[in-house]
């Protein structure tokens, strides 16, 4: 439950309001083991603590990475931090993407906005063990071309023959040559076998709801769709109850859930 001090090694600006910090422990430990999809509680001293998904490579635990959008008091304070500054880390917490269960299947990643960050560790894992999976598809939607995360990495991924990457934006000007339209519009033509596919979705809740509906229309089973939920997580161990979602605590039972378990709650009010 105690935060460990981590030093900021690099700060990379992903977009006008989103940044990635790379962290290393100050206490001499040289690695931070985690499973794709897990999160940490990040403590900006004197300001507060926030849950942020880990966005780095699980096979490179020496580089702990978090991608954050500056939207609240803590994350805005975090955006002001620089190389050498120290923050507290508590974690890793929560459930992970079913990367082992997905072996042998086509894998469909659907990310919306900053939702690409929590999915990136799973994508790293799948690419690192590429021969264990069928087709791998990344569908990524965001607001505008200026909001696209991990641009250079997306270009690298796009150039691979064993990974299908499709990016779309909600709106663009005439200089943009890529896709325009919501991310759900990419699903009907995406190259995967719905009967042998596992889907992992991360993004705003309403986007995940409509994405799941499209995936079900394509024929993917409920049990093969996973998504990650976001709630007001405080203690991260299921004690405080702030993140209650129906019968679940998102901090402990999630953030990654099977759609079969929580899909029915996505369209309910005030869950």
């Amino acid at each position: 439950m105690l935060s460990q001090p981590f030093r900021i090694e690099t700060v990379h600006r992903e977009s006008y309001d989103t940044f990635t910090v790379e962290l290393q422990p100050t206490n001499g430990h040289d690695s931070f083991l985690f499973a794709p999809g897990q999160y940490n509680m990040l403590y900006v001293f004197g300001v507060g603590e926030v849950p942020i998904s880990i966005s780095g490579d699980p096979d490179r635990p020496e580089n702990l990475m978090h991608t954050t959008r500056a939207v609240g008091t803590v994350t805005k304070a975090m955006a002001e931090l620089q190389k050498g500054d120290v923050i507290g880390i508590r974690g890793p917490y929560g459930t992970s993407w079913p990367v082992d269960r997905a072996e042998g299947y086509d894998v469909v990643f659907v990310a919306g906005g900053i939702g690409l960050a929590p999915l990136r560790p799973a994508l790293y894992h799948v690419l690192a063990h590429r021969d264990r999976y069928g087709k791998v598809v990344l569908l990524y939607g965001t607001r505008s071309p200026d909001d696209i995360l991990y641009r250079s990495e997306l270009e690298q991924w796009r150039s691979r023959f064993d990974l299908e990457v499709h990016v779309t934006v909600d709106y663009a000007d005439a200089t943009w040559r890529g896709n325009v339209g919501v991310v759900t519009s990419l699903i009907p033509k995406a190259p995967f076998d719905p009967l042998h596919s596992m889907a992992m979705i991360c993004g705003p809740e309403v986007m995940m709801r409509f994405t799941a509906i499209e995936l079900l229309k394509r024929g993917i089973e409920h049990e093969h769709i996973y998504l990650t939920m976001e709630r007001n997580m405080k203690c991260a161990i299921g004690f405080c109850g702030h993140c209650q979602f129906g019968q679940h605590f998102v901090c402990r039972d999630g953030p990654v859930f099977s759609y079969a378990h929580i899909g029915h709650m996505l369209s309910q009010w005030e869950v």
């Binding site: 919306g112 939607g141 607001r143 005439a174 325009v180 339209g181 759900t184 033509k189 993004g203």
Partner: protein, 152 residues
């Protein structure tokens, strides 16, 4: 000499799946092969909406002209997509611009010609309505999601 028509192409298109052969023949009489260079306007907002299109090759953008932002692209069309439905209902004016993003090859169907056929054969009109309505609903759903601005 064997004459080739657009009938087999229309028959194979998913949009016309299940349409009776006699109706396909009627549609063929209103259809033409068309080609647009990259950046050429296919539909202009405000102008009379005469045609709808089956995109066979290339990509096109659905755009809104906004004086502050010039052309805002709201949707991208791909091979196989069907676009243009303002010809179905009065006042038969196009609501959006559609611009070719690459070389575009398409089949255009003359809506005026079709409307006349619908007047004499309501069943054909109903069959076309069954095909266009899901497209309109899909566009409405997607536009609603865009308007929600869920990533903000």
């Amino acid at each position: 000499m064997e004459t080739t028509t657009l009938e087999p192409i229309l028959a194979e298109h998913p949009f016309f799946q299940g349409l009776a052969p006699e109706y396909l023949k009627l549609l063929v009489s209103c259809a033409a092969n068309v080609r647009y260079k990259a950046n050429e306007m296919i539909i202009r907002a405000g102008q009379e909406a005469v045609h709808f299109f089956l995109l066979r090759h290339g990509e096109a953008y659905v755009e809104i002209h906004d004086p502050r932002h010039r052309h805002v692209v709201i949707h991208k069309l791909h091979e196989g997509d069907v676009f243009g439905w303002s010809w179905m209902l009065p006042p038969y004016k196009a609501h959006f611009d559609v611009r070719a993003n690459t070389l575009v090859r398409a089949i255009s169907l003359d809506g005026k010609c079709l409307r006349e056929k619908f007047d004499t054969d309501n069943s054909l009109g109903y069959q076309m309505l069954l095909r266009f309505t899901p497209l309109i609903v899909q566009r409405f759903e997607r536009t609603s999601l865009q308007l929600l601005d869920v990533y903000s």
